[in-house]
Point group: C2
Chain length 281, copies 2
């Protein structure tokens, strides 16, 4: 496995693969990899001849008051995980490599980024769209892998690829959880021991919400309010939102039908955690 | 030469070419082709194994009060010109093919689109960036050809390609002029006989501005004011702007040095015409 730091090196590598008619998968990450990322890499290795994992803490998708500086980094551990999972290349550029002097272009969309996480993170999805667009041009993958944990991001990336006619298959992969249910996240590292215990309330709310739908409840408001009550009973939990939306448009729904995303963002101390479930009716 | 109307057909055609290791040039146009477009097609045919000309009057780059509806169209004449010039494919999609239901993504940049034409055409370059980005993904050309007449557009496309790491060479081609100097433009069709005669004042201003620099004048304001006076002496001319800017940043300059764009937009009746010269010192 190679660790490449420049766009030119990645391009040259991918072009060499293309000459051999090999397919290429891309797993875009911000590093500090966990079993969630691992599942994406394994999926890419399974579906493509070669797999590139990008590790780049993208400044453009962090707001001024967010955790860009403190975002956890551990390239050595990441490299071990990638190698073990069968990745062929890590692309690990410096910010200066990705954002050259005079950089001023961006990719964005109306609607989808304004809901859910976009309400408190107004520049986030513009940064995500832009960097993913760049990574797609650098790596030119056949397929790219994203976790369903970032469900809004996944919907936005799918929309961008469709709208801008990018010839790339977007593969969404299920949330990977700890033994007690907490969704794996690089940001779980921010949790104190007490917060870590409290945070399990998110996956409990997910299970509870799913169960209500299985039981026949179709009233989005009723489900959301019950989930909120469950989370609010945990004193360390500070709810940012719990919402049910149409998976394609991110618009709030009244009645559970079609493909529905039930998503939440909740703060525990310094950590802002998200969790969700997608249901198809 | 084929005329293709769907994205799928173009993709299939380009993939077939790629299998034969052929290079592909793209000439994005809005149709109603003239010798300016012809020069781009000829350049592409010279530099690439295959050439695609896209003909698409892109609604997204017209403001609500602009000439989207009246923009001249003549596919048959365009097809003849393309065939004669050696193009292999015309891509001529309907707006519904390019903008599917729910379309909401866009590409834009800060700075460059806010100067010159962007001041009176605030949505124009966002529409240009978005449609060119789409066309680049659909055709995946090795090279794409743009006229220097749309100098701000050329600077913006170059910036987009650089910033978003699109692996495409952007080739700018010189302005093609009528015998009396008027820059070729599809919009010249809007001119009455009197306006057509008056419009030659633009190229006269260009020649005059160039001449002043050749004579040693480096004062941008002096040059611009003299050019404005020359144009204003023509009663049918209604000046929107005459400006000298840095070619890379579109920022106004005081002193003529480096690569400078001297650009103007002037109305003659219904027609809004542009002209410019680029000088390197």
């Amino acid at each position: 496995m190679k660790i490449l730091k420049t766009i030119e090196e990645v391009r040259a590598q991918v072009k060499a693969w293309r000459k051999e008619n090999l397919t290429v998968g891309l797993v875009p990450t911000m590093g500090y990899l966990h079993e969630g990322h691992q599942s994406l890499i394994l999926k890419s290795v399974e579906q493509n001849d070669r797999t590139v994992v990008s590790i780049f803490v993208n400044p453009m998708q962090f707001g001024p008051a967010e955790d860009l500086e403190s975002y956890p980094r551990d390239l050595q551990a990441d490299a071990e995980l990638c190698e073990k999972a069968g990745a062929d290349v890590i692309f690990h550029p410096e910010p200066e490599e990705m954002y050259r002097p005079g950089f001023c272009s961006y990719v964005n969309m109306t609607g989808l980024p304004d809901a859910l996480c976009g309400l408190t993170r107004p520049v986030h999805f513009k940064g995500v769209c832009t960097v993913v667009n760049k990574l797609f041009h650098i790596v030119t993958p056949d397929r790219a892998y994203f976790g369903e944990k970032d469900a809004q991001q996944l919907a936005i990336i799918r929309r961008m690829v469709m709208d801008l006619n990018m010839d790339i298959e977007i593969v969404g992969c299920p949330i990977v959880r700890e033994a007690d249910g907490l969704a794996k996240s690089s940001r779980n590292i921010y949790l104190t021991k007490e917060e870590r215990q409290a945070a399990v309330v998110l996956s409990r709310a997910v299970t509870f919400g799913k169960h209500k739908i299985e039981e026949g409840c179709r009233d989005a408001k009723e489900i959301v309010e019950a989930m909120k009550a469950l989370i609010a009973a945990e004193p360390l939990a500070d709810i940012e939102y719990v919402e049910m939306v149409n998976m394609d448009t991110m618009q709030p729904i009244d009645k559970v039908q079609g493909t529905v995303l039930c998503a939440m963002a909740v703060r525990f101390g310094k950590a802002r955690l998200i969790d969700n479930f997608i249901c198809q009716l």
